[in-house]
């Protein structure tokens, strides 16, 4: 009834190719954005910011990054954790070496450093593909984590081998360090999420994005019609690692504050982000958000139900979480390889003809 494109006439090319062609979607998008930026900071409390909102936003950035590489360009990567670690350690080194730099610059610079590392580890993708490449990216994962663990320069030779985020403020409001308010953390992450999603959306529907998708669908055919595989693959690695680096930096500076690299950025993190984009939907920005929200929410919900309501011990709930995640991955791959995003697409189609489907 409400969800119609009828009567919404496009009179220019810009209007015709906009992200949300249906008016209802546009309004909903802006309302959501206003709610997230203006209303939610007043409502958010420590528990929800820590348990759901902040990790959700940070994982959404990582998922968008990996989705560009895996969903749009078809290069499966198991090195996400390692690249997030690069972002974290880059931001740590920048924060301690240049104390006068502000956090936004630091986070973006960490992204660029990660992009450079990503391109380096993306070079083999020109020779190998498919799961051969997936295993090659494991080399990045294990090597990077080992390096941050062993080379003292990266953690400023601290005795514990940990890195701790110093306090930094924007406009006099703390965004890192132990005295940060929940709403400041949340808003700082939201800023990056909105920027990243906007950039990613516009990249993927432009010339670069089309090249990525051509490479994904069939690389040899893409090469024949004039796509340069070197540029397409490496740019995908660069952009993807840039986003993943930003998310890794935020995960360390804003969310955790102190990081032990093997624990936080291990192989399980790589799989977690990969699962987010499988469940959410490969090759979809919306899917990245949906997958991140789902997999961040699932353990919180299970803990609420299992531990608080049913009174089970926490280890059983943790194992149950594994079972459910694994089963869901298989279920989605069997039933709907395009994930939650495809469900949403089907719902939209149904809504458009509702309530007269014939």
């Amino acid at each position: 009834m409400l969800y119609r494109e009828a009567g919404d006439f496009k009179t220019s090319y810009t209007a015709d190719s906009q992200t949300f062609p249906i008016k209802f979607d546009r309004t909903a998008y802006w309302l959501l954005l206003i709610a997230a930026a203006v209303v939610l900071p007043f409502l958010v409390n420590d528990y929800w910011a820590n348990a759901f909102l902040v990790p959700f936003l940070i994982y959404a950035i990582a998922a968008i990054g990996l989705n560009i590489l895996t969903g749009y360009c078809g290069q499966v990567s198991l090195g996400t954790g390692g690249f997030m670690a690069v972002g974290a350690y880059a931001s740590y080194k920048l924060m301690t070496a240049f104390p006068w730099l502000d956090m936004v610059t630091i986070t973006i610079l960490s992204g660029f450093i990660t992009a450079a590392v990503g391109v380096l580890f993306g070079l083999p993708s020109l020779r190998i593909k498919g799961f051969y490449l997936a295993v090659a990216t494991l080399a990045a994962q294990f090597f990077l984590v080992w390096m941050f663990n062993r080379v003292g320069w990266f953690y400023n030779y601290s005795a514990s081998g940990q890195i701790n985020a110093p306090e930094r403020a924007i406009f006099g409001i703390n965004v890192t360090g132990p005295n940060t308010e929940a709403w400041a953390q949340y808003l700082f992450c939201l800023l990056f999420v909105v920027a990243v999603a906007w950039v990613a959306r516009n990249l993927t529907r432009g010339a670069v994005g089309r090249q990525w998708m051509a490479i994904r669908d069939m690389d040899i055919a893409a090469e024949i019609i004039g796509v340069n595989p070197l540029r397409a693959k490496l740019s995908a690695f660069a952009v993807s690692s840039f986003f993943i680096g930003i998310s890794g930096a935020l995960f360390f500076t804003v969310y955790l504050g102190a990081v032990e690299v093997g624990e936080v950025y291990g192989i399980t993190k790589s799989f977690l982000v990969l699962f987010m984009i499988i469940i959410g939907g490969l090759g979809s920005i919306f899917g990245s958000f949906a997958g991140a929200a789902f997999l961040v929410m699932l353990p919180v919900l299970l803990k609420l139900i299992g531990v608080d309501v049913l009174g089970w011990p926490t280890d059983i709930v943790a194992h149950l979480n594994l079972v459910i995640v694994g089963a869901l991955i298989v279920f989605f791959l069997v039933k709907e390889p395009h994930g939650l995003a495809a469900f949403w697409g089907v719902t939209k189609e149904k809504l458009r003809i509702w309530p007269f489907p014939h």
Partner: protein, 329 residues
């Protein structure tokens, strides 16, 4: 002979033994990959699951005891009997065969003709599922596995080498047994695939699914068979690793180590899996001994195998013994 050289030789020998273990896991990968084109990431977790099931059956543990206790407020843990090792192994093989059937019935039958990378991701999901089930079923604590394999230093080698070089080599009995069993396993597999009817059907399926289907070979049967064999290989690997370092989660991480082994050996070659395993085993131990520990701060074993495979792949994408990759548009 100088001490350093002798010590290096001992390290290399131990690496060879560790390599046999990697080969055992890699073997399971190759079997499934050849028959169905599925790159089975869950192989390592299958080894963990098999070893846990074996221990559980041996000790008469009640499956899902924790879950049952938590739900119904009971407190049951053991049936109170001990099952002899051989019978327990047989029962575990049955469990692994049932698992093979279930995996094919509920997962891979629905994913026929999907892209390899989709299948790969499905096996990652399967690995998580199986790990969770294993923990729920038998509990997550570290378990001791003992099926009566010899363990400890081999005194014969120690004495012989001491008399010859004045320095006794430390070789674990278990490693020697593992090597022998791995050899027998490979020989058994070769005989099975060359000289039996099922083996020939298996090779036909590996060669060309459709042609095999058209001459009346049941794909479902062959896939269940090959997953069962892979389950059996996983059980053998699980027993070896479990006896060596206890049954625990890190067992499933050896699956990750088997990936570079496959990269080196090629995904379709059984001898490749063996040779690749040995190269990785010796390579990482020697690298750690010569370069890692003195110059790089140690623990290079974590990444050496992957980096070696990565460098290797850039020059020879199909591995040492793999078939040449031909692509058509």
């Amino acid at each position: 002979m100088p001490d350093q050289l002798l010590f290096g030789m001992e390290v290399a020998l131990n690496g060879l033994m560790a390599g046999v273990m990697y080969s055992l896991v890699a073997l399971g990968f190759v079997l499934i990959f050849k028959a169905s084109g599925i790159f089975n990431y869950a192989q390592g977790v299958m080894a963990l699951f098999a070893a846990m099931t074996l221990v559980g059956i041996q000790n008469g543990q009640v499956p899902f005891a924790h879950l049952i206790n938590a739900t119904f407020g009971t407190s049951i843990h053991h049936f109170g009997w001990q099952v002899p090792a051989l019978l327990a192994i047989l029962l575990t093989v049955v469990v692994m065969a049932a698992f093979a059937w279930a995996v094919n019935r509920f997962v891979f039958r629905h994913l026929v003709n999907q892209e390899p990378i989709i299948l790969f991701m499905a096996t990652i999901g399967l690995a998580y599922f199986l790990e969770g089930v294993a923990d729920l079923m038998w509990g997550a604590e570290i378990k001791k596995l003992d099926v009566g394999l010899p363990q400890g230093i081999n005194t014969l080698i120690d004495e012989t080498t001491f008399n010859a070089f004045g320095y006794g080599f430390f070789i674990d009995n278990l490693d020697i047994v593992a090597t022998i069993i791995a050899g027998l396993l490979v020989a058994g597999l070769v005989i099975f695939s060359q000289y039996t009817k099922q083996g020939r059907a298996l090779r036909a399926v590996a060669d060309d699914h459709q042609a095999a289907l058209s001459v009346g070979i049941s794909l479902n049967y062959i896939w269940v068979l090959v997953w069962s064999i892979a389950g059996f290989v996983a059980l053998v690997a699980g027993i070896m690793w479990g006896t060596k370092s206890g049954v625990q989660f890190s067992l499933s991480l050896i699956a990750l180590k088997a990936l570079p082994v496959l990269m080196l050996g090629g995904f379709t070659s059984i001898p490749g899996a063996i040779v690749g395993g040995l190269i990785i085993g010796v390579g990482e131990k020697l690298f750690e001994f010569l370069i890692g520990a003195p110059f790089l701060g140690g623990a290079t074993e974590n990444w050496f195998a992957y980096v070696l495979a990565l460098i290797f792949l850039v020059f020879r994408p199909q591995g040492l013994f793999g078939e040449k990759i031909i692509e058509r548009v």
